[in-house]
């Protein structure tokens, strides 16, 4: 049963992966304009033919897709053609080696910060459900949830960066140039992205905990005389965090590439900005590989969630499948 479920999940993962990447190939093929003329305006005939072959313009879509897929799996993401128009340029994978850690770190900080805030907050709100604490917190979270992250980012940049001059407003500092400075450069983007996620997480956790608190085993634990905080952390929290776990994993998947706006506001030069730049300059191979990468990231985190459920908690798994 378990194996069957795992196999089913894997099969679905692979199917969607193939369909998504093929769909992206079709989309990139649909990009209007003459790719060779755009990337190499002053090229000789020989250069044009070479580039045309590199972009797979002489193949049909299916052939091209499989060639691209082979390259992609091997980690060759294509060339990012230079604006000099001579067909030269950097490897996308090398540019990604710079951009990806930035996006991954941002994602990691956002998830860690969001969980650190929303877990205690969700517990507190559920424990004090329907009281003033809960109402005030719910309303504040609701208001914060409605603020677009770029508006929040601008506001924070203005107050903390310009007025108080505590933190840098733009730019990214790599870890090897000092961890403190690195953290400083990431604080504002992290908070801007986290606020909405914190609101989401604490609301999810709150409602799950409230329903767990109604279970018999909680009454049992309370009647044995265990302390409230012990019950909350040891008995209630663990069975209540599956929705939170799912949401966190999906957010992690979506944040690679999905954080493009905040990356732009704070000039972090992550994956999202690399993708925007590729689209602006019509880097056909780069666009295809980067979009595929964001989709793969999302699907992998989805798969992790599904596998986690099918392995760890058969009760939830069958519940979710129904």
């Amino acid at each position: 049963m378990k194996l069957k479920l795992i196999a089913f999940n894997l099969l679905r993962f692979v199917t969607v992966l193939v369909l998504v990447t093929f769909g992206i190939t079709l989309l990139v093929r649909l990009l209007p304009g003459d790719p060779v003329g755009t990337l190499m305006p002053f090229a000789t005939e020989a250069d044009r033919a070479k580039l045309s072959a590199e972009l797979g313009l002489d193949m049909n879509v299916v052939e091209y897709y499989f060639r691209w897929l082979g390259d992609f799996i091997r980690g060759d993401f294509g060339t990012y053609y230079a604006s000099t128009g001579d067909g030269g340029g950097a490897k996308v994978s090398e540019m990604l080696a710079v951009a990806l850690p930035r996006s991954l770190l941002l994602m990691l900080y956002v998830i860690i910060f969001s969980l650190l805030v929303s877990v205690p907050l969700g517990l507190l709100m559920a424990y004090r459900a329907q009281t003033r604490v809960d109402n005030v917190a719910s309303n504040i979270l609701f208001a914060l949830y409605s603020i677009p992250n770029f508006a929040l980012g601008l506001g924070l940049a203005y107050v903390v960066g310009v007025k108080l001059d505590w933190l840098p407003v733009i730019g990214y500092v790599p870890i090897n140039e000092g961890f403190g400075e690195h953290l400083k450069s990431m604080i504002l983007p992290t908070i801007s992205l986290s606020i909405g996620i914190i609101a989401l997480f604490s609301r999810l956790l709150r409602s799950d905990i409230i329903s767990t608190l109604r279970e018999d085993f909680v009454t049992m634990a309370a009647s044995k005389g265990l302390s409230n905080s012990w019950i909350l952390w040891r008995h209630v929290f663990r069975p209540s965090c599956s929705t939170l776990f799912t949401a966190a994993a999906l957010q992690m998947g979506g944040l690679i590439g999905g954080s493009v706006i905040i990356e732009t506001v704070f000039a972090l030069n992550g994956v999202g900005m690399l993708l925007t730049a590729s689209i602006a300059t019509r880097q056909y191979l780069a666009i295809q590989s980067l979009v595929a990468l964001t989709a793969v990231a999302y699907l992998v985190f989805n798969l992790i969630v599904d596998l986690f459920y099918s392995v760890v908690d058969p009760r939830v798994a069958s519940h979710r499948a129904s």
């Binding site: 989309l27 304009g33 770029f150 590439g257």
Partner: protein
């Protein structure tokens, strides 16, 4: 129950704010204000409450209040049209999938899942790139930026709404009254129209309201990464145009940001209110 105990003042505030926005979007051109694209260069980057410009001007000398009023038409227009179009197509596909099940359902669900596995922003970016570039022969048949955004966002929203409509419709197809209707010999199509669609509608309406807010945010985001409307023509592009001025004229960027936040907040509030009403209704059925 808990939601209903919230003071109604929030509802009044959010609906009034949204009415003001709608009013501006429709009648904004008739208000006695300077044109948003009249550049008053003598008064560039004027502070708030300066003479002739209540909310000041940006570095081009364009009046911020008129910009906001003009922008309400662009921002709301894009949102309402794209979410509305996606709602019609998406809910049709979703309900169809839920009711026919079998092959059609598998195909449509797969299609929804494939679309949903690319982050919304990334997918829209690619679609905008496809629709916004000039045609092959170089003739200037470029679509207006607004239309490009509407088409792209519609495509992105169809699977989101479709999946939700499918889920909601599915939860109704197993209900007793549907079984009863089927067992007394009602035709499937009639069951669908009489019993399923009316019950799915409320959820879709609340999704519509929440979706408008989402698109207003998305439009702002696209303006920031440089694929939005003409600079200054919508709330998002006003913010994007002026976001470099935080040090010298912060109000030029922060005012549009606040307007976007207020509008989205009131839409979310109203959407949530509708949703809690629906939950109450469904718990009674």
């Amino acid at each position: 129950m808990h939601r209903n105990s919230r003071p109604k003042i929030g509802l009044i505030l959010s609906l009034s704010w949204f009415s003001v926005c709608i009013f501006c979007a429709i009648f904004g051109d008739f208000l006695p204000l300077p044109k948003w694209d009249d550049y008053d260069y003598d008064n560039s980057a004027a502070r708030m409450f300066s003479k002739g410009h209540i909310l000041g001007t940006d570095y081009d000398g364009s009046d911020i209040l008129s910009g906001l009023i003009h922008g309400s038409r662009t921002s709301l227009g894009i949102s309402i049209l794209s979410v509305g179009a996606a709602l019609i197509v998406g809910s049709f596909l979703g309900i169809l999938a839920a009711y026919r099940r079998g092959f059609i359902d598998s195909i449509l669900s797969m299609f929804f899942n494939v679309f949903l596995s690319v982050p919304t922003i990334v997918l829209t970016l690619v679609l905008v790139a496809i629709f916004s570039s000039p045609s092959l022969d170089g003739s200037s048949t470029e679509l207006p930026r607004e239309l490009v955004l509407i088409i792209s966002l519609t495509i992105v929203f169809i699977p989101i709404i479709g999946r939700l409509a499918r889920g909601t419709a599915l939860s109704w197809t197993g209900r007793e009254f549907v079984l009863v209707a089927e067992s007394i010999g009602m035709r499937r199509r009639e069951v669908l129209i009489r019993h399923i669609v009316p019950n799915v509608m409320p959820a879709l309406i609340s999704l519509f309201v929440l979706g408008i807010g989402f698109v207003i945010i998305a439009e702002g985001g696209f303006a920031i990464i440089g694929v939005g409307t003409q600079p200054g023509a919508s709330w998002g592009s006003m913010l994007a145009k002026n976001r470099g001025e935080l040090t010298l004229a912060p109000h030029t960027a922060l005012i549009p940001a606040t307007v976007i936040a207020l509008t989205v907040a009131s839409l979310n509030y109203y959407g949530e209110y509708l949703r809690s009403r629906i939950d109450d209704r469904e718990s009674r059925i």
